[in-house]
Amino acid sequence: MPRITEEAKQATRKRILDTALSLFKSKGFEQATTRDIANEAGIAAGTLFNYFPAKEDIVMALVTVALARAAEEFAKQKREGASLEEDLFLNVSTGLRRLKPYRRYVGPVLETTLSPMVASASNEQAQAIRVAHLERVQEAISSHGQSLATWTIAMQLYWTLYTGVLAFWVNDSSPKQEDTLAMLDQSISMFVSWLKERGNG
């Protein structure tokens, strides 16, 4: 029996994700079953489960890809001389842009993987997203000359605000989700004010 190359595995994985995204868009997340996705992708249902044990894992994979691209965009768009508020805002807004195609169905998945209530090690991909995001936050804070003795508290506070903004965004019915931008701006501003007070104290 010929071995499946890594290249072929990645191609199949990508085909599953593209197909799932297309079906989520056309049928809706709830209506699109894993069987539909497998059929549309031209693979057996069992094969699909080898890659993604549940439909939510497919969404998480889509989120991971989207946020990885957002991280690249963040690095590219970061401006010399920008304020800490601007850098932190950009870190989130690039992510929201990339997540936009999944906004209607990403909520429950984010809730069960990224929520501050969830144990950090429960989902490997979610944990990787969290670590990468917080590393960028810490780097931004440090590059603006802010140092903190208690990173754990600062990062927990930040993550709570961040996931709060995500939850708000998922359900935001304002035109073009403009309220999310205001919410994010104010959340970041509040966090940076707190940070500076702690730093000065």
């Binding site: 920008a82 601007e86 950009l90 807004s93 304002s174 073009k176 403009e178 931008l181 205001a182 104010q186």
Partner: protein, 470 residues
């Protein structure tokens, strides 16, 4: 609006109130530092609370405190008064930076009263025109992408990441289109328009305690007119339409420029206009212009106002310094947010006013006042009629009396405000629904020409504009 005056007068700060005295340098610095940290709330209730608290208690109450203090003996209270001025101005500035939007209009009106109001007060408030708290570039980028469908780098040949001016609902950035034109792009803070509209809808219920008074329907009509006017200012599509209409009214020979709108880069929340060069009134005056140059600037402003009114049927209400640019004997009119569009009935009423001004006859003025203020034959309305006629005769002096009017006469301007304060205190405010808008204009235009120290004859301007358009 006038119904809250009695309450406000009661709540005025007293010069002997220990809380209102002795603002230390440290407290002043701390207050300024707080300005940069306060984000703008977009939650309606939060804003409403702030509007009620600050706009009324500090803004309006202070205005009346200030007016009232003119009637007291001076000297002894001078030091306390200056400190109270500064304190109130700083509080107002703090909250206006926080709220921007509708509340900023209040500060802009007050800041025009240079030299009439104490210097410390107007110096601080004047910063509101151009130094509102900024949106950083990441937020601007998102707002532009959301509204125009692309990043600034994709949409424009050049885009200045730092704002060059504050607008009451956001800020303005300079840019260059890919086709080469220099433009000014006005960007609204996300959600602020909807929030202001929601706040304004919440204002009417606040007036409900006044519903049993005899002027209730009139007060409500006036509040509704102000509400509609402010709501229009939140819609840049509406402003784009008015800019285009106004631009068509002027030719190159008029030396009055209204910027072109670039519709393909404009929405309800983003307005892209031709960049107009020039300086605002503060910088214009700092160059110590000749009397002739001041007069020329004032004449251009009056001509623009008459042209918009007669040919365009638009009354340009919002005469605050940020809306006018002066350069080489030319005038730039760069904001059409505060415009009252006149229907046929309103235009006829304005013609009646013009007729009364033209004849200067007291009977004609009384007839107009009866019509405008809805005064019948009730003997109890006689004082109202007399006081209103006195006010009109004063504010229309530039039209009633022949020749040049010295708009730089501080006593004359002070009397305008005294008369207005007296009418307001006596609650003689019943009138056409547009009364608050027209009063706002009367005060704003007089104070702007006062700052210019203009000595001009408005009759030939009026005659030329009426002849051409009526």
């Amino acid at each position: 609006m006038s119904l809250s005056v009695a309450e406000i007068l009661e709540a005025l700060p007293r010069a002997d109130d220990p809380d209102e005295r002795g603002l230390s340098a440290e407290a002043t610095r701390a207050l300024f530092e707080k300005l940069s940290k306060r984000p703008m709330p977009t939650g309606s209730l939060h804003r409403l609370w702030n509007l009620g608290d600050v706009h009324a208690r500090v803004g309006i109450a202070y205005l009346f405190y200030w007016i009232r203090s003119w009637f007291k003996s001076t000297d002894a209270r001078q030091q306390d008064l200056v400190e109270t001025n500064l304190r109130a101005a700083l509080k107002l500035l703090e909250m206006m930076g926080y709220l921007r939007g509708a509340v900023m209009k209040m500060g802009q009106t007050l800041a025009n009263l240079k030299d009439i109001a104490p210097d410390e007060f107007t110096d601080v408030l004047e910063k509101l025109h151009f130094e509102a708290p900024a949106m950083h570039y990441s937020l601007i980028r998102e707002q532009l992408c959301s509204e125009l469908g692309g990043d600034p780098e994709e949409l424009f040949d050049e885009f200045e990441t730092e704002a060059f001016a504050a607008a009451s609902l956001g800020q303005v950035h300079r840019a260059r289109l890919k086709t080469g034109e220099r433009v000014a792009i006005k960007v609204q803070y996300p959600g602020i328009g909807r929030t202001i509209r929601a706040d304004l809808r919440n204002l009417t219920p606040l007036l409900l305690p006044a519903r049993l008074t005899k002027d209730w329907e009139n007060v409500k009509a006036q509040v509704d007119e102000v509400r509609r006017s402010l709501e229009r200012e939140t819609d840049y599509e509406d402003e784009a339409r008015l800019l285009e209409k106004a631009r068509d009214l002027f030719t190159e020979d008029d030396n009055i420029l209204v910027p072109r709108v670039y519709r393909e880069f404009s929405t309800a929340r983003v307005l892209t206009m031709q960049f107009v060069g020039g300086v605002h009134i503060h910088d214009f005056l700092s160059l110590n212009p000749s009397q002739e140059a001041r007069n020329q600037a004032a004449e251009l402003m009056m001509r623009a106002w008459y042209r918009l009114l007669y040919k365009g049927r638009m009354e340009y209400i919002d005469w605050h310094p940020g809306n006018f640019l002066f350069q080489d004997g030319k005038l730039g009119l760069i904001d059409m947010g505060g415009v009252w569009c006149l229907n046929d009935a309103a235009f006829d009423t304005m013609l009646r006013a013009d007729h009364a001004m033209q004849t200067g006859d007291r009977n004609d003025i009384s007839d107009f006042v009866r019509h405008w203020c809805e005064i019948g034959d009730d003997p109890s309305d006689q004082e109202r009629l007399l006081k209103s006629v006195e006010y009109c005769e004063h504010v229309w002096k530039a039209r009633i009396q022949p020749g040049v009017m010295d708009f730089g006469d501080a006593e004359d301007l002070r009397k305008t405000i005294d008369l207005l304060a007296e009418l307001t205190k006596k609650r003689y405010t019943r009138g056409r629904s547009a009364s608050p808008l027209v009063t706002r204009w009367e005060l704003a235009y007089r104070t702007m020409l006062y700052r210019l120290g203009a000595k001009i004859d408005v009759h030939p301007i009026r005659d030329e504009e009426v002849k051409v358009t009526c």
